[in-house]
Assembly symmetry: C2
DNA sequence: GAGGCCGTCCATCGATGGTTGGAGGTTTGG
DNA sequence: CCAAACCTCCAACCATCGATGGACGGCCTC
């Protein structure tokens, strides 16, 4: 069965979690951790260096997000295989990760047996999406895509800006802001800006970290 | 130095993270993991059974939150010592954990050396709060406490309810709702309900998980 | 080139939200 | 017992928001 060992790259920014994962995987039969990375840039460097069979990665990473890591690596190595392992389960994250080419999406709550089984399965060419995740994905699929402009407006709403402020910020009229809001409310399936803000956060459309300060 | 081994209870709901922590701690000198728990109720049972010197716990747990676990255990065993280890850094969480009697608050990003050093320090009777956390705590200290009623209203705001709906829900007049909102806006240092909602989520005043559905 | 989608703009209107400045009742703690 | 903090309610005002129904040019695709 396990005639060849599976080379795994572990990408995770929390030290203790990463060390734990490495420890877990290294005792597993036929799996060898060939590299570790604590952020997106490092992840790409480590990938180039070790050419792992499987890259196990978190989504929220410093410097480059997990999705970006997947996209960039697949540009140079399309056959690379990815498993996303994260705490978050916002629809948008799942969608984007799978869209980018991840073969599996696991939540950190799963057991190490499941993790190892998934690594073997993905290495064997299969995909694996747990039912709970598939469910969310299905919901997300039915939803309409926000246009770039609507996204800009939504972001400002989450930052607590008024229509007038958004108009100034994006250099458009307040009427236009209202138009965008109106259509994004519909797409998100909500009825006012406050609901839009919480929905955006919950679904991971606007990452909570981006709220701290950074202006455009 | 380490004449006696420190007995540690690890409370963490994510399997892989917990296994990782246990693996890390067990190789450390003078530290022994005497029990593990995946939720709050189990944590209390394990504590009673093993009487650990240190309880290392996450805050977000199924069934009983980390804060509740700390409070309940300290009722029967006031000298119990707690280290909170979490991914989240909302001001409110930090405040409540420390308030409940935690001796240290660490983010999962820290190295295993730091973790082990902190366990030793806390066991030796010291407290340890990293500077970044102390900073947040200081901010939170300057803020006024929300009254229970204001909290109720805030929760409804986060759920996207209108003033009228909140009035019905809490069985008070819309005027009263407005009064509460007015005063909570002031306390949170924001100017409208949308900002109040995002601030509440960011600071951990209203947990994001509570948004899924559960009515009163 | 016709139909779509997008982004921009507009006006109007009713609904909702936030401000101000009261006022009365309760509970709690010194 | 009194003060302080809380909860409740009110009215009336203005600002903001969201809904509606257009309108126009640009761009892409078929």
């Amino acid at each position: 069965m396990t005639q060849e060992t599976i080379k795994v790259l572990v990408v995770e920014d929390h030290h203790v979690v990463r060390q734990g994962l490495v420890a877990l995987l290294n005792v597993a039969d036929g799996i060898e951790v060939v590299g570790e990375a604590a952020d997106g840039v490092e992840a790409i460097a480590q990938f180039r260096k070790h050419q792992p069979n499987i890259t196990l990665t978190d989504l929220r990473l410093p410097r480059l997000s997990g999705v970006e890591v997947i996209q960039r690596i697949r540009m140079e190595t399309p056959q690379a295989r990815f498993i996303v392992l994260t705490t978050y389960d916002g629809d948008e994250d799942i969608y984007r990760a799978l869209q980018a080419g991840a073969r599996a999406y696991l939540l950190k709550g799963m057991t190490s047996e499941e993790l190892i089984a998934t690594i073997r399965a993905v290495h064997a060419g299969k995909s694996h999406i747990p039912p709970a995740i598939a469910q969310k994905l299905a919901e997300r699929m039915g939803a309409e895509e926000l246009t770039p402009r609507e996204f800009d407006v939504l972001e400002q709403i989450v930052r607590g800006k008024s229509n007038k402020e958004i108009a100034t910020e994006l250099d458009i009229s307040e009427a236009t802001v209202k138009t965008h809001i109106n259509s994004l409310l519909g797409k998100l399936g909500v009825t006012d800006r406050t609901q839009a803000a919480t929905a955006a956060i919950q679904r991971g459309i606007v990452p909570l970290e981006s709220l701290r300060k950074p202006g455009p």
